[in-house]
Symmetry: C2
Subunit: 336 residues, 2 copies
């Protein structure tokens, strides 16, 4: 009932060696060799903080590649920061490893962590390593910076704002089906694309900070588009209209939906997209799309905010979709 | 394999309601209703960050009272901040709850969290709630403030510094034995005191910030005194002498050791003390002890730093103790 006995496991020494290089770029990490880390915050900036956990068998498959598990963990957290307009700079990782995790697995996990720390310019500045008799359980706290009072909140939406989304929708949820072997009729190449997208989302870290001052409200799409737009609307005291025909779909998702139209439910309500949905005044639309194009991110207008409280999804003729018929189930808002 | 499906569990809605009040005092928590939190840092201050996890069956017993589990989680993290001289102000909590956790348990857990948030003046500013098929797994990230460049590090010790420790040593480890029914001959009152101390450590949050500018180096005693002094020595490039006869013991620990002298190993090497061990120049000793007395914390000189690399524990006659004979086992340094 005390963590101390596990400290002399060989694996823990290995982890310390594998993780230490990821802290080198950040002096306040103190080489991961102290009780805590120190963080300096530039004048005029705010720290933006998020914390997400992933549990083996719940948020990923136990046999997913170790490096991709690490990278997804980083990315789902950076996605939250991007959606707030923040530029990420640091992470802390707490990992509860099963006893039998093995050194090869740990090396691959650290490799994945190192790759995304490098690619996204974040340092590992602290954390914890413990043993668990249960599944691998990973928690990341991620830190970004944004100008004082400039963060993009869920609550900033205004009546008449256009609603935009980055990238494409539904690939995460369809990728999960693909990973489960439940899209057997899809082209193998497209199946692989979807699976990859499920395993390795692309947080919009380059675009997010560019939306500051242009978008009124933003959040990341992690629980499913309709639910997440609902969160944004609730915090903004508004409703929204979403045009189903305008939702951006990848070629893989298009083929999957052509084969099985009921999969629209995955586009509207599936999780794991890690795109940014944001509300911005129509007059900023051109500038936003140009800025997004500069960083290679597609941005699509998918609807608008209006007075009210509901999120209505319309078909191409302006008729409300019967979401129940699409297989989409209503989620109770519990995230606050 | 996605977190979204669990969001509509009644328990998750309950957790959101129970936790929301703990965020009210911190505007940047955004009511726990956004993707992230915002943190302002006063000019001239650094953020001090720590992150510790606790796993059911590893760091606590599954049947420990829910409120005490929450409070211990807070306290072990605040202990790290205190040891750096930082004043705590915020926490983030990620909790992986077993499916059968139950609403009564959750209420008690939230009550404990609320009590310590109140008592230590920290706000809950964010986090995550997920389900796990494994044991309850809790991760806290805690935030404190310290003057720029003023944090007490492990690495600041100097040759000739006195080594001090707050409170008493060994109660955590003996409390674990007591909790396990392994101290049957001890007075029931003393047994209860030890158990309580194991379940509910007392982080030295009032004293820690007062040591800034007086102590050269500090860390919290969580892995066991000798091991932790070893960490401090290694980071400071020094060795240390610890006088076993000077170690501060509670009346309960004194009685336990009188009954079984081999329990000295628990005082020297047991974990879960959550005291601060620190190195300070002898000329500051009187002032430190006076300041500690002002806040009701005992501080005891237990040895000194010297050139070298070893931590030598001496008996009252200056002879090195044979630690192996005391049952103390050598820990490899894996915490870095």
């Amino acid at each position: 009932m005390s963590g101390d006995a596990s400290d002399d496991r060989d694996e823990f020494a290995l982890i310390a060696r594998l993780f230490a290089p990821l802290a080198r770029s950040y002096p306040g990490a103190l080489g991961l060799g102290d009780d805590a880390a120190l963080m300096d915050v530039p004048a005029g900036q705010q720290v933006v903080l998020t914390m997400d956990s992933m549990v083996g068998g719940v948020h990923f498959f136990a046999d997913d590649p170790a490096d991709l598990i690490a990278r997804k963990l980083v990315r789902v957290n950076l996605s939250d920061l991007a959606a707030k307009g923040a530029k990420p700079f640091a992470i802390m990782l707490s990992a509860a490893f099963p006893q039998d995790v093995g050194t090869d697995w740990l090396r691959r996990f650290a490799d994945g962590l190192a790759q995304d720390c490098h690619d996204y310019g974040v340092a590992l500045i602290g954390g914890d390593t413990v043993s668990t008799p249960g599944p691998l359980t990973l928690t990341l706290t991620a830190f970004g910076l944004v100008g004082q009072g400039r963060a993009l909140l869920r609550s900033g939406g205004r009546d008449g704002d256009k609603v935009f989304v980055t990238g494409t929708l539904g690939d995460g949820a369809l990728g999960l089906l693909s990973r489960q072997g439940r899209l057997p009729r899809l082209d193998p190449d497209l199946r692989d694309q979807l699976t990859r997208r499920y395993l390795l989302p692309e947080p919009r870290t380059t675009l997010g900070p560019k939306l500051v001052g242009l978008a009124h409200a933003a959040m990341d799409v992690s629980d499913g588009l309709v639910q997440d737009v609902g969160h944004l609307c609730r915090q903004s005291g508004l409703g929204a209209v979403i045009i189903a025909a305008d939702l951006p779909l990848s070629p893989a998702a298009q083929q999957a939906l052509a084969d099985d139209p009921s999969l629209l439910s995955k586009v509207l309500g599936g999780g794991d997209d890690y795109e940014i949905v944001f509300a911005a005044p129509p007059e900023h639309a051109d500038k936003i799309i140009r800025l997004a194009d500069d960083v290679g991110v597609a941005v699509t207008a998918i609807g608008h905010l209006r007075s009210g409280t509901d999120v209505v999804v319309q078909d191409g003729q302006g008729r409300p979709l019967d979401l129940a018929r699409t297989g989409w189930r209503h989620f109770t808002d519990t995230r606050g």
